[in-house]
Amino acid sequence: MTGVIAKHEFARLWKDRRLLLLSGVLLVLLITSLVTATQNIGALRAERLEAQEASRRRWLEQIPRNPHVAAHFGNFAFRIQTPLSLFDDGLDSYTGTYVYLEPHKQNDIKFSQAQEATSIGRFSHFTPAFILQTLLPLLIIFLCFASVTKEKEDDTLRLLLLQGASMRQVVLGKVLGNFGAIALLMILFFVISGVALAGLAGGNASVWPALLLLFGAYFAYAFVFTVVAIVISAHSRSSRASLMKLLGIWILACIIVPKIAANLAGNLYQTPSQFQFNEMVRQDEKNGLDGHNPADSRRNALLKQTLAKYGVDTITKLSVNFDAIAMVESEKYTTMVYRKRFGQVEGQFQKQNAFCEWIGLADPFQAIQSCSMALCGTDYDHFRQFHAQAEQYRLYFVNTMNEFMVTHTKTGDWSTSFGRDLYQTIEPFAYHPPPVGWSLARRPVSFVLLLFWLAICPLLIHSTRKIPVVQ
């Protein structure tokens, strides 16, 4: 019986001009979003790749210098957008573009696109993810709000039940029928997105498993909305009441709750201002080793240790450059300070994000948003991963230069210069995006919550079994 109802429902929708019209509108929007995003992302990626190469070129072309001074010349690390940001740009616009890497300091990633945006940019971002997260549920509501109430209003529901179908079977049939039509639309959506992605991804095969998982996640999300819409329709007395309830749910779930959650999280877990952060770092640094200051008492202690290690009594007898040793130690200390302070801020951010993530328990939009950004490599964890890799690279090139100075120069020698041969020993910076498995492991709550929503769908359908047919 469920199959018959599903088939009937699917056939009804297939003939319904509304589905055709609304699907057509969504497809036009999708294609527009893909075209504009491809152009924008393509240009940004090319520009940043070029800037990254230019930074490398300048590093190699700098004049011969003392290794530490050469390290001060620094390198830039540019954040290259992932091909899947075409699908969901997530936090890309709100996280910075590049970070300047230099000795002693861990800099921020500077200049987000949002800083150049006008108020238009804050309304919403036109991506396939926006269409699927926000507009698709509305399409589902439009299609399903009257699926059961209409049968009640036309008195055909009683006929159906008299033929031996249970209410649960009717609801399940309606769910399957409606979802079948929606699934077809979604398949078309993902095929078009896949074609657009193929152009941008080139030979990057890692995007396909992520796209497949995205498809699964959005499938689950659409299924949840379909079930909710039909169950509410079954529980409502009239189509109007059903529509009002569903629109209320949509507005709360997709518009109001995400905003309230993020703002509440910000109020609950506060972060210092940039100025306060800097003051804290400055205070911490004061207590550490100053690699450049010969009068520093901690430097004297290190000198004693070094002299003892090399079995000499004066600095001049040292076979290595003590200035460079001091700088290596100083780097270790400042790294520790920055790790601690950045860690505190990130800890607060993670708490804020976790708070929003758990809202997914009541709002599937939060869960799909988080899953989608994670799979597209545009969430906070990926941003952090870039920052971590950039920081690792900073330590690598600064320490390499300092250690070279330790063994190749003598204490007090700041004038011996080394050129391109030395600079070439430093590998260029390349960001390695983590694999899909990493994204899944970083956001277990969101994925589990999406599954949780999927798991309660049978319960929701089950809840309709005792609905009175005669009002």
Partner: protein, 483 residues
């Protein structure tokens, strides 16, 4: 008049007896009050941050005063031991419309040797030129300030109250009954819609007044803010009247929600995508490249060449033949090195800023494509939290920096790097910044929305008469009898 009062009275009674009306109104008020709290908290945070930077500058300068009072010192020390605050103080109305203030810097200490070097690459000494610390997830979600409530939620409130204003009568079978009353049907519908519009204006207006009062905003700005809101609300009333003519409430609700979604989300998102394609901002990476290149070109220059290059750029400091600069301990070394770097980078920055201006101007044109965008623009303008004002602050910050440098450069070059207690009072501790808020930027949008609203209402008024009553020659009484 009595009839209208009676209609409104019974309409009101019907509303307040409806549990959903009370619930939705209560929910809206709660969100509105939270939005006011949120906006005020954001403004307070920024004010406190500005105060912290100011306090830090004051405290450093006080410490420096003791050094000077013991005897003369160098201008280089005065430079490094003092600071100049350049702050974009939030206007009171920013508590109501926080706009773009959360993505940009608002409290700068201009005490830096190279403005562009600290701004674009390192921030080695001066973190105030770096971005503010904000969770990007929060930026993505956007501000839940009063402007969000007024722009997104209030039209929804109007839609929920009015979507069945005609079809509800039809569904209840009272529309034909109304047709035989002495009041014109479209007059009756319009009266009820205007009553709902009034309700929307009163609730929104009360929130605006409460927020403006708490933020100590002046009456004129509050009035302008309310004016924009009234224009926006009227526009929505017109849209509602135009799109609620179907005989089915469900269809009306769907049509109106679609209109709301299109005007508040889809069109802005589409405009943004087109804007990004039309005006991409690429100059930032060029600036970062230029910073590094300029630094690598200027640092290794021989001191004499460096001094001569600087004096060619700034001939006012060339009074008498000078000794060459010596190195880090020479104030002029710092002035020359970073003076040349900043001078090199100025054209690239200007190019970037003009690209940004073009983008802002293009975005402002797109604003006319949706009342939601127009209202947001006008609110942000009034609150001085729009992209224009933030860009203005950004560009003026560099001018402030140049002014400060000019003061110290004259001491470095013409005053032989001497600094006395008498000169202490001349240290620029703060350059004031006043956001430009021209009236026409928000009166235009407000009037336009009001006019559009009135036109739509007039069109809707005419159409209601023809569509609500059904075919003209259909007799009313038999219809009632068959029901």
């Amino acid at each position: 008049m009595r009839r209208i009062t009676a209609i409104l009275y019974y309409d009101w009674l019907q509303m307040i007896r409806s549990a959903s009306f009370v619930f939705i109104s209560g929910l809206l008020l709660c969100i509105g009050i939270y939005a006011l709290y949120y906006g005020h908290a954001q403004v307070r945070d920024q004010q406190e941050n500005i105060a912290r930077v100011k306090q830090a500058i004051d405290s450093t300068v006080r410490g420096f005063y003791h050094t000077v009072s013991r005897g003369d010192t160098t201008a280089l020390e005065a430079y490094s031991e003092s600071g100049t605050l350049f702050a974009n103080y939030p206007r009171p109305l920013a508590a109501l419309s926080f706009g773009q203030r959360d993505v940009d810097r608002f409290a700068l200490n201009l005490a830096t040797y190279s403005f562009f070097y600290d701004k674009y690459s390192t921030g080695y000494k001066n973190k105030t030129l770096s971005n503010e610390i904000v969770n990007p997830m929060r930026l993505l979600a956007g501000n839940l300030d009063l402007s969000f409530v007024l722009i997104f939620l209030m039209p929804l409130y109007l839609i929920l109250l009015s979507y069945n204003i005609i079809s509800g009568e039809k569904e209840a079978g009272t529309l034909d009954l109304l047709g035989i009353q002495t009041i014109r049907l479209n007059g009756y519908i319009l009266t009820r819609l205007l009553f709902r519009l009034g309700l929307m204006v009163v609730i929104g207006g009360a929130l605006i007044v409460a927020g403006a009062f708490a933020a100590h905003s002046d009456a004129v700005s509050t009035l302008y803010f309310s004016g924009v809101y009234i224009g926006y609300s009227t526009c929505w009333a017109g849209i509602v009247l135009l799109f609620c003519r179907s005989r089915y409430s469900g269809t009306n609700a769907l049509t109106l929600i679609t209109a709301w979604l299109m005007l508040c989300f889809v069109l802005p998102a589409l405009y943004n995508a087109l804007l990004n394609a039309q005006h991409p901002i690429h100059a930032k990476t060029r600036i970062s490249n230029a910073v590094q290149r300029s630094e690598s070109d200027v640092y290794p220059l021989p001191n004499r060449v460096k001094l001569d290059s600087f004096l060619t750029l700034y001939p006012r400091y060339r009074t008498t033949p000078m000794d060459s600069i010596t190195g880090y301990n020479d104030a002029r070394w710092w002035a020359c090195t970073y003076g040349i770097i900043d001078h090199d980078l100025e054209p690239i920055e200007e190019e970037y800023q003009s690209a940004r201006s073009r983008r802002i101007r293009a975005a402002n044109r797109w604003n006319y494509g949706s009342p939601a965008l127009l209202a947001q623009y006008a609110f942000n303008q009034l609150a001085a939290s729009n992209a224009e004002q933030l860009q203005d602050f950004d560009t003026l910050a560099y001018r402030g920096f140049c002014k400060r440098m000019e003061y110290f450069d004259s001491l470095f070059f013409l005053g032989h790097n001497q600094f006395t207690l008498a000169q202490f009072k001349d240290i620029p501790l703060e350059y004031e910044y006043h956001a430009i808020v021209p009236n026409e930027t928000f009166t235009g949008p407000a009037l336009l929305m009001l006019a559009a609203g009135v036109l739509l209402l007039a069109a809707g008024y005419r159409l209601v008469g023809s569509t609500a009553a059904g075919p003209k020659n259909q007799p009313i009484v038999p219809t009632l009898l068959t029901q």
